[in-house]
Symmetry: none
Subunit: 242 residues, 2 copies
């Protein structure tokens, strides 16, 4: 299932536009974090077209924590001038590349869009599994929230069809809790190897970014978790004996 | 030159949204047939983002005849089961197919979008050179005017924009020898942690597969290599003391 999440939207009309695009391209599960009030007589319903009948009234209000804990999360952001070599999250995939990468994957995924004016904050981006950006003009790459969601859902439309038409998936992505166990082991390993305090959160972000892009299968997540746990145990043994 | 024409739009906000998407994807020539009033203090300018500085104020008011007589005209319309039997122009092209077909075209082209509610009339469509439709859900294929223009301009961006703002991932991907050093460290770690002999090559294949999919940057490869090296050193310290 691919859900669409909108974080802290200011304008009900934009929420309605997102809902309409969802219905246009075969998506139905809308999740709202800190939404504006959606008056049935107001702009949200006015902009939603036929999505006023289902997508919009069925939208669920959730927390950002809920998204992170229950979904493979993909954030969207406009390009900044950040150097991709830095550890700051940089938009790595285009929506078209995202469609390719999600094609063989069956796990709950949330496409996360931010505020109209400032998008997702760096703190929010740091907690997501992947970051994507829409290729656009160098001169003015910042799309409106509704336009950004429309382009992304347009590019991903074949997934909503394939999901219902293709029963067999080539690989199955790990459950979110299997992935979280892997990150827990990495955190413990950094601890056991006295990884410099000030670098630890940055390194953890790097690990989340890397494994988020790799779309681990359950088997891979379990094997990796075992390898990292073993390393941590050996490292702790050393700490004990030292 | 590829111009964007909007015929008889009812809502100034939609004209502003179209202008913004034009600037996002590198288009500048906006032609308006029977436009609503575009108050500089109103929704058109409010929705236009930075396009309020150029695309929108430079828009020209023209007649439908002018479009037909001076441009290669491409109309956009939704496909609905009802419409498909009555539409006069077939076959439809998708925006992606249109991008391919326009690549070698020298003539001035106008992308023609219709009214919010009924789109272009059959009489208007009959006078245009080509008709395109955006692939969308069978259940609800009718996009909002602003969303339709956004998808089309997004698909045609390569015709106008030489450079998009996405990082050049290929250039910034880690060198192969940086990646190999990472795999060397993993192999050493498996050794240091007495990973079962018979599973070792399989585990190494899994690691190569996972990191291959993640397309590490140089910085990520170096950081990861450092983390794994440190784990191996701690593990070996244990092996020595045990």
């Amino acid at each position: 299932m691919i859900a669409v999440a909108v974080v802290d939207a200011r304008s009900p009309g934009n929420v309605g536009t997102v809902a309409r695009s969802m219905k246009n391209f075969g998506f139905s599960d809308l999740l709202l974090v800190d939404p504006p009030e959606l008056d049935p007589e107001g702009e949200a319903y006015g902009f939603a077209g036929h999505a006023r009948e289902d997508v919009l009234p069925n939208a669920r209000e959730v927390t950002f924590d809920y998204l992170v804990e229950n979904f493979h999360t993909v954030g969207f952001t406009a390009i900044t001038n950040e150097d991709a070599r830095s550890h700051v999250r940089f938009p790595f995939r285009t929506p078209a590349e995202l469609a390719d990468s999600l094609r063989d994957v069956e796990a709950d995924t949330a496409l996360v869009f931010g505020r109209e004016d400032v998008g997702l904050t760096n703190d929010e981006l740091a907690r997501l599994d992947e970051v994507c950006a829409i290729p656009a003009s160098e001169e003015y790459p910042v799309l409106n929230l509704g336009q950004a969601a429309t382009v992304v859902l347009y590019e991903l439309r074949e997934l909503t069809v394939e999901q219902t038409q293709l029963p067999d998936v080539d690989r199955e992505r790990a459950d979110e809790d299997e992935i979280e166990r892997l990150y827990d082991q990495w955190a413990d390993l950094l601890d056991a190897t006295n990884h410099p305090e000030e670098k630890r959160s940055k390194t953890m972000r790097m690990l989340r970014r890397v494994f988020g892009r790799a779309h681990l299968t359950g088997r891979e997540a379990i094997t990796l978790t075992g390898v990292v746990r073993r390393a941590r145990q050996y490292a702790e043994g050393d700490a004990d004996s030292g």
